[in-house]
């Protein structure tokens, strides 16, 4: 009977035999020891990686901020340049207008001067011509009169009176001709 009981005990699938239990405990302890040994190495590598990744992210953020700042600076510079350019253009346009106005004024002044000078010249020429004509016509008239009258007017005062009268008459009749000259 004991043998049967032992056999039945041996075939019990829910057996927990203490030798196997002990082996299991030892096996667990060995593996646990190995895992405990490797754990710090693994975690330090993992933590170090996490740190580096975080550091990398931070560096990237910083670089990005820097780049953004520089970009802003460039943009400002560009805007400044545009503004200056526009100012230069405006200034140049003003200058051009000023130069043109000045030149026009000068030209007008010059033209007026030339015209005035021409007028003065014409007037002078006219006066000159008139004076010359007056003397020449006087001489001619005297000549003519001498020849016609055949006598020399000895009295110069009378002579002048005659000439003046003649000229006055001549001027009265020569008015249209005189207007043409002007």
């Amino acid at each position: 009977m004991p043998a049967v009981i032992v056999a039945a005990e041996q075939e019990n699938i829910l057996r927990i035999h203490w030798d196997e239990f002990t082996f299991g405990l030892i096996a667990f302890a060995v593996i646990f020891a190995v895992v405990l040994k490797m754990w710090p190495r693994m975690t330090s590598a993992l933590d170090e990686r996490a740190n580096q990744i975080e550091g990398g992210i931070e560096r990237a953020k910083k670089a990005e901020a820097e780049a953004e700042e520089i970009r802003q600076q460039y943009r400002e510079k560009l805007e400044e340049a545009h503004r200056q350019y526009a100012q230069e253009i405006d200034k140049a346009r003003e200058q051009r207008a000023a130069i043109i106005a000045e030149a026009r004024e000068e030209a007008q002044v010059e033209a007026r001067r030339i015209i005035d000078a021409a007028h003065a010249q014409i007037e002078a020429d006219r006066q000159h011509t008139l004076a010359q004509l007056r003397t020449e016509i006087g001489a001619l008239s005297t000549d003519l009169a001498t020849r016609i009258v055949g006598e020399t007017l000895s009295d110069s005062a009378a002579q002048n009176r005659v000439i003046d009268r003649f000229l006055a008459e001549l001027e009265q009749t020569g008015d249209p001709a005189q207007a043409e000259v002007r």
Partner: protein, 283 residues
């Protein structure tokens, strides 16, 4: 395989279907889980040095080698082996430990890693050709692990809440009226202090036991059904049936691999929930 062959035709000259000796099919029995000891201690309630002991040794070497190789020269930029180790760590942490214990779990990671890799390796021994016996199909081994978790559960609970606090948290459900306590407290005691560690171990053991039995039946049936010498149509029928058994064996082997991983996962997940619960106190 020798055990299966013996089971299907002990003392029969032709242990196949359609034989001339009237030998029937003998399904493999529980003797599969009682390998003959190579060294018998001769002491009651011992098994001696058996196939289980050998497989356990292989498991210890394999798992230790796995962790030593993956953590050797652990660098910030991981190499292939280190990546595998880190994947295992991340899997155990994110799928088992964190759901059960939250951030507290990081302290228990080495234990949980040990449990997971140890159990998984013991289970997978069941489908390694030539070995083909899950170590966890012997209740002694799951019992060791569930006992460790059970002791830790008590230690953590007592350390966090004192002996009275721990026992009260586990025996007296909050919110229940006083008059029902005489019924509830014994139920809670049996449930939390007796059945839970037992089911923790038996769940793993029973699935591995049943899975191995199923594979053994497919293998034995395939062997029994294979009789091309039966003659005529019988040969064709026997080989056809045998082929079906082979397909079943292969499909269920793949399924077993899944179950082996699943059971290791479930064991560690439950361990994590138990210890997490002990840290939290009243449930």
């Amino acid at each position: 395989m020798r055990a299966i062959v013996a089971a299907s035709g002990e003392g029969c000259q032709d242990p196949h279907i359609f034989n001339d000796h009237g030998c029937g099919f003998e399904a493999p029995g529980t003797s599969l889980f009682f390998p003959t000891p190579w060294l018998d201690f001769g002491i009651p309630l011992t098994s001696g040095i058996t196939k289980y002991t050998l497989l356990l040794l292989i498991v210890v070497l394999l798992v230790s080698a796995f962790w030593l190789v993956t953590s050797r020269n652990a660098k910030v930029v991981p190499r292939r082996w280190q990546s595998i180790g880190e994947l295992t760590i991340a899997f155990v942490r994110d799928q088992m430990v964190r759901p059960g214990m939250g951030k507290h779990g990081d302290r228990y990671m080495p234990l949980m890693l040990t449990l997971f890799t140890f159990i998984l390796a013991m289970n997978v021994m069941g489908i390694i050709p030539g070995l083909q016996l899950p170590v966890t199909s012997n209740l002694a081994f799951p019992a060791v692990l569930s006992l460790i978790v059970y002791v830790l559960w008590n230690v953590v609970g007592i350390r966090e809440h004192g002996f009275g606090g721990h026992v009260k948290a586990k025996l007296v459900p909050s919110g229940a009226p006083m008059w029902i306590m005489p019924v509830l407290v014994p139920i809670e005691f049996i449930s939390n202090f007796v059945f839970r560690p037992v089911t923790h171990a038996v769940r793993l053991f029973a699935t591995m036991f049943a899975g191995h039995m199923l594979l053994a039946v497919f293998a034995a049936a395939g062997f029994y059904l294979f009789n091309p010498d039966a003659g005529g149509i019988l040969s064709v029928v026997s080989v056809g049936y045998s082929g079906m058994a082979l397909v079943g064996f292969l499909v269920f082997t793949a399924f077993e691999l899944f179950i082996m991983g699943l059971q290791a996962y479930v064991f560690v997940l439950l361990a994590s929930f138990y210890i997490g619960e002990a840290i939290e106190g009243a449930h």
